[in-house]
Symmetry: C2
Subunit: 132 residues, 2 copies
DNA sequence: ATCAATTGCGTTATGCTATAACGTGTGCAA
DNA sequence: TTGCACACGTTATAGCATAACGCAATTGAT
């Protein structure tokens, strides 16, 4: 899937996420966009919904937050399962992919005849800098 | 870690989860325990906090719900990373472990000098029965 | 025995996360 | 030009989680 032209709201939300150091909650995004006319959570959630669909933003389930995809330009859907390491101290998020992990998980679901739609892999802990 | 004797509230919450067909939200648990004197969310959350700590209950981050561990008797902390397949149609949850997946993820974190605390793997989709 | 520390518990209040439901405007294709 | 799809704005509400206070029971060191 190729990413269509973003609408005004989608662009605003995406820009905020791209410029952010780490993941942001929907309400944090809302606050950052009040100056641009945002007034309600739905404006953010609706934009996020599309950005997630386009694969340019990821949702971090374990911390109810969102990050811009680490692969500028391409569509993350093509990278297989995306995994995240989330530092609980500084909030930094690192995105990575491991084909062997994908493979093992997909083997398992195949054996179960389970039909996967969305897979979440999130490792919370301390990043190198914070663990030191 | 061995599981200590559960308190009254912890037992009530655990029993509800064990008897449930699938994962339950904290508020659903609360409703099921109103007859037993539960009145406030905190009574549930406090019990869950301990049950999670003892490893007899798991939290499903992607659906804000909780399930009893699938390994009656033992401590899930000893099984390495736990993965879940969650059916979005019927709500059924299957818990599994894959040492190779653990291994790959732990290799990755080691390479990054990231210190993992808690890892989440959740596959949402359709179970065999619902996909048919 | 007694005091201090810990732990569980109950209650009220509050904060954070997410969506329902309704209506408006715009662009485009039949 | 009418009908549809989509983005958008607004208000209200639902759902998830914790802060802060106080009390009671337990434990364990002195």
């Amino acid at each position: 899937m190729t990413t269509p032209q973003l609408t005004k709201n989608q662009s605003l939300v995406f820009d905020v996420l791209e410029k952010a150091e780490g993941p942001l909650s929907a309400y944090t995004i809302l606050d950052k966009l009040r100056d641009h006319g945002f007034r309600a959570p739905l404006q953010v959630y609706r934009a996020l919904e599309k950005l997630l669909e386009y694969g340019v933003v990821h949702r971090l389930e374990s911390i109810n937050s969102f990050v811009a995809c680490a692969h500028p330009g391409d569509d993350c859907h093509s990278h297989g399962i995306v995994a995240f390491a989330i530092c609980e101290s500084c909030g930094q998020v690192t995105e990575f992919h491991d084909h062997e992990v994908d493979h093992r998980l997909m083997e398992w679901v195949r054996g179960q005849k389970f039909k996967p739609a969305k897979t979440t892999i999130e490792i919370r802990g301390l990043c190198k800098a914070c663990a030191a």
